[in-house]
């Protein structure tokens, strides 16, 4: 590799702008503009090599311009995704193609056709994020290595050209140089600078670690993105829904049959006037008494399977714990979490009928039908018996006008009974649905009179296991750490140097010049030394010539 040797003797990598050690500008740019201190003039790969394809790709992704462009494109895409609801937020049993057009007209149709209904999961959105990730890695590597090198090798003694091209720079002529330098050194140390001295020159530095802040936060971001990507790896991430009825014990999906859950009770509460804090009355009045939800809760018992899984056999269960699952208080066990997310109130469980003599109204016995597990025959004794010929849990007439069932959930149960009695040995057929009874073969003597409906509540729970969470947590923590490191501290340097019998003071910071100037004021207060001038400001004022400020 080509190298450049500076007159101070230090050997710099090819591409260095000013000497790593003494700061002498290696390519004099003619006039005395201020030095660009951003990366300490270090040789960045992206700025130095532009020949091969790899070089060019590297240069492309390490450009902040490209990075910002990617960020802005992602931003605009994200805005578009909020114009209409994403598909996951539209009602579940509609056809999205129709839904968008129905709800939002031609704009909705276009939105759907462009695939914006699933924008955040689209390949190009994910690609954008991935490109930001690549850009983050490359741009960080491109800068952090040379920056580290340059900061590590910087010499105390700096070339005069380096000093006079700093933004804060001043020259003092004083008689007792040694005393002034000694005083400054003491004051600098008091302001918690790390001071290095060489041949009577000073380099005071503090907050260098803040220079690593951006790189630390970028690393955190990359870890976070990797974590987010890992969730598509099988096994890292489980997301299941389970519905469990009061009194029911069910296998928890996603646990490979290892865990079972029993729901003891589902509780739904609302805020009511008189029961809750009085200050809520006005709000309750506005929305309506009993309209604001207070609690959704499922009291559950968690069981673990003991012994091996035998197909068909009833699992042997061991109780692990009881827990009330509430919103914001999921049940956690063995990396799983169970959340309260949904519910159905008053789902029919058993329906009871009384076999009744239509004429006398006499009751001859009660039949209680478990709507999930009906029996074929119900024997009432004394020669009375009811057979269940057909059962439609969710009754409807199909296209041909025949009775059928929409689902296995007893939303609208209907039955065909055959009633036997001592005086009706052949039996009588009756079709019974909610609010209606049909007697297809003529008038019956007996009927099945509805007695009662027993209901229970159903809890909708979400089962999660997410092995990526800790990665995201680590990434997020590193990101925050790096942000604070880079933003709440700054890297300040003050050079104090004797040049031709004068004392030159120059200062640089990567942020917060106001703070640095304040610090310099305190440092030089009462010393008789000249306060370094802000040459950027001077230049601006000179360029301005008294008229209004132009575009910056």
């Amino acid at each position: 590799m080509e190298q450049v040797k500076c007159e101070c003797g230090h050997v710099n990598p090819h591409g260095t702008v000013f000497c790593e050690s003494c700061g002498k500008p290696l390519e004099e740019q003619g006039e005395k503009s201020l030095l660009d201190m951003r990366y300490e003039g270090s040789a960045r790969r992206s700025q130095t090599y532009k020949r091969t394809i790899v070089d060019q790709i590297w240069a492309f992704f390490s450009s902040v311009k490209v990075g910002v462009a990617l960020i802005v494109i992602t931003l605009i895409a994200s805005v578009i995704g909020t114009i209409f609801p994403q598909e996951m937020y539209i009602p579940p049993n509609v056809n999205p193609a129709d839904y968008y057009e129905e709800q939002y007209g031609w704009a909705g149709k276009l939105y759907y056709e462009l695939g914006f209904n699933n924008l955040y999961g689209s390949w190009w959105y994910i690609l954008l994020i991935a490109l930001i990730g690549v850009s983050l890695v490359i741009c960080s590597l491109d800068r952090v290595v040379p920056l580290y090198r340059a900061l590590k090798r910087q010499g105390v003694k700096r070339h005069p050209h380096f000093l006079e091209r700093q933004r804060l720079f001043g020259v003092s002529r004083i008689s007792d140089m040694d005393q002034a330098v000694a005083l400054l050194k003491e004051r600098l140390a008091k302001q918690r600078y790390r001071v290095r001295e060489e041949d009577g020159h000073l380099l005071a530095e503090k907050g260098r670690f803040s220079r690593w802040g951006p790189y630390v936060n970028h690393v955190g971001l990359i870890i976070f993105l990797i974590g987010a990507m890992l969730r598509s790896v099988p096994g890292m991430y489980i997301d299941e829904v389970m519905w469990v009825r009061e009194g029911e014990t069910k296998e928890i999906p996603g646990t490979n049959g290892q865990y079972f859950l029993k729901s003891e009770k589902f509780i739904f509460d609302t805020y009511k006037k008189g029961e809750d804090n009085e200050v809520f009355n006005a709000a309750i009045d506005r929305v309506g008494d009993g309209m604001i939800a207070e609690n959704y809760q499922t009291n559950v018992v968690l069981y673990k399977r003991v012994g091996p899984t035998v197909a068909g056999a009833k699992p042997e269960l061991e109780k692990v714990k009881e827990y009330p699952i509430r919103v914001n208080e999921p049940l956690k066990f063995d990396h799983y979490a169970l959340y309260q997310v949904d519910f159905r109130l008053n789902e029919p469980k058993t329906m009871s009928f009384q076999l009744t003599d239509k004429q006398s109204g006499k009751t001859l016995g009660t039949v209680a039908i478990d709507l999930y597990d009906p029996k074929e025959t119900y024997n009432l004794g004394n020669g009375y018996r009811v057979e269940l010929l057909s059962y439609f849990p969710d009754f409807e007439f199909d296209e041909d006008g025949n009775p059928s069932t929409k689902s296995r959930v007893p939303n609208n149960p209907a039955f065909v009974f055959k009633m036997y009695a001592p005086d009706r040995p052949e039996g009588e057929v009756s079709f019974v649905a909610i609010q209606q009874t049909l007697e297809p073969f003529g008038d019956n003597k007996y009927k099945m009179a509805f007695a009662e409906l027993e209901t229970r509540n159903v809890s909708g729970l979400t089962v999660r296991r997410d092995f990526t969470l800790w990665i995201l947590g680590v990434g997020g923590a590193i990101f925050m750490f790096g942000l604070v490191q880079g933003m709440y501290w700054n890297h300040r340097r003050i050079w104090v140097q004797r040049v031709n019998g004068e004392l030159w003071i120059a200062a640089h910071t990567n942020k917060n010049w106001f703070g640095l100037k304040k610090e310099l004021h305190r440092l030089l207060d009462g010393t008789g030394l000249t306060m370094p001038a802000d040459r950027l400001e001077e230049r601006k004022q000179a360029g301005q010539g008294g008229q209004a400020h132009g575009t910056a």
């Binding site: 951003r38 902040v64 311009k65 990075g67 910002v68 960020i71 802005v72 992602t74 931003l75 994200s78 805005v79 995704g81 909020t82 994403q86 996951m88 937020y89 709800q103 955040y120 997301d239 805020y271 809750d276 804090n277 200050v279 809520f280 006005a282 709000a283 309750i284 604001i292 939800a293 207070e294 609690n295 959704y296 509430r326 919103v327 914001n328 999921p330 959340y339 997310v341 979400t462 999660r464 969470l469 995201l472 997020g476 990101f479 925050m480 942000l483 933003m487 709440y488 942020k511 917060n512 010049w513 106001f514 802000d534 950027l536 400001e537 601006k540 209004a548 400020h549 575009t551 910056a552």
Partner: protein, 395 residues
């Protein structure tokens, strides 16, 4: 307790108003020698601090009364945001001692608090999803971050008012007037809401919603645009019949409020222009004429540098932790979440542009204005227009 709480809020509002005038006096006072050392500014900041303490009093008493931190509905959250804005201003004031910052920051805080007060102010009980300590942690940190970022808007605005050449119309004067119009319209909203509120205007409509269900809606402003197939209810006979009817997917009541606010804003704006005989920004220019531009730029950047991490922590990290607990997933692409991400991406772009392309000064000031617009959009429009999980039941 509730009474005390609202009195304290009222007191703080009045004090901020007085503070504004005191800072105004500081700008006018020709005798002042050093920045922030004059009497006017000293009184100004003292009154502001007392006002801030009064508002903290409002916050604490309301918390005690409700049993939960008052950040659970739009009124409470927005008021809190205003309070944080004043808090951030106080801190920045003690670093930079720039009186003109108070002259602009306080009116903006006043506008925000007044705006907040137009929403239902009663203390509401917490629905299950909000019953979590993370409500307090997430919302307060996010609001604090947004408030600090808003200071960069204040500094940017001052920068632009000073720097934009008002001698002839240009794109810059136009956009600056757009910003002014936005502020005036907020005031317009407050004025019309208060006026119709005081007059007790009510008009009930029955209308057909997008699921073909008949429902009712009550307007508190005369209906310029009416709901889908809306009919005035009997008890509202004689109220204004809507001039235009909206399709079912548009919330006509909110749109009606927006139209009224825009009209009031336009009237106010035109009146101001007629009285001032120049652009509003031009009229404000003298107030900013002594501002050190580099200092204003520095403050704007500092505010972003300090606010960005706070915002990240509150609006993204704490938000994700809570979402994981309450909604089973840390991220769900809900509009409010997406807009927090958009805000975050925007300020990330801001920081990178400043670092690498050297977007300082005026460009940076414009960016700060846009950033604030995004924050306000998230606060106002996303809550009221794009309904999602987060939408506080705004009316």
């Amino acid at each position: 307790m509730v009474q005390l709480s609202s009195t304290l809020l009222y007191i703080s509002f009045v004090l901020y108003l007085i503070g504004t005038f005191l800072f105004g006096g500081a700008i006018r006072d020709k005798r002042k020698e050093q920045q922030g050392k004059d009497r006017w500014s000293q009184f100004g900041i003292a009154v502001t601090i007392i006002g801030f303490l009064a508002q903290v009093g409002y916050f604490v008493t309301r918390w005690i009364a409700a049993g939960h931190a008052p950040v659970s509905n739009l009124f409470e959250f927005t008021t809190f945001f205003g309070m944080m804005l004043v808090g951030a201003f106080i801190i920045v004031y003690f670093i930079y001692r720039l009186s003109v910052l108070g002259l602009f920051a306080l009116p903006i805080a006043l506008l925000i608090i007044a705006y907040a007060s137009m929403f239902p102010r009663e203390i509401s009980p917490l629905i299950p999803a909000l019953q979590s300590d993370w409500l307090h942690i997430h919302v307060t940190t996010a609001a604090a971050g947004e408030a600090i970022l808003a200071i960069s808007f204040v500094a940017g605005l001052i920068y632009l008012i000073r720097v934009v050449d008002q001698s002839k119309p240009s794109k810059r004067t136009f956009w600056l007037e757009v910003v002014m119009f936005g502020l005036v319209t907020t005031l317009g909203f407050v004025i019309v809401s208060t006026a119709f509120g005081l007059s007790g205007y009510e008009a009930k409509f029955t209308w057909i919603d997008k699921n073909n269900q008949s429902s009712e809606v009550e307007y508190h402003m005369p209906a310029l645009v009416g709901p889908h197939k809306g009919e005035l209810a009997k008890e509202s006979a004689g109220r204004l019949d809507p001039l235009v009817e909206m399709p079912a997917i548009i919330n006509a009541k909110k749109l009606n409020t927006v139209i009224w606010s825009l009209m009031a804003g336009a009237v106010l704006y035109i009146a101001l222009r007629l009285v001032l005989r120049k652009r509003i920004a031009a009229a404000l220019q003298p107030l900013a004429k002594n501002v050190n531009l580099d200092l204003a730029d520095e403050i704007g950047y500092r505010a972003v540098a300090i606010g960005f991490p706070v915002f990240t922590l509150g609006a993204l990290i704490f938000a994700m932790i809570w979402a994981q607990i309450a909604w089973t997933r840390f991220w769900g692409w809900d509009p409010k979440e997406v807009w927090a991400l958009i805000t975050w991406l925007f300020y990330a772009a801001f920081l990178h542009l400043r670092l690498s392309k050297g977007w300082h000064g005026e460009k940076s000031a414009w960016l700060a204005v846009i950033g604030f617009a995004i924050i306000m959009f998230n606060l106002v429009a996303v809550n009221l227009v794009i309904a999602g999980l987060h939408s506080y039941a705004g009316t």
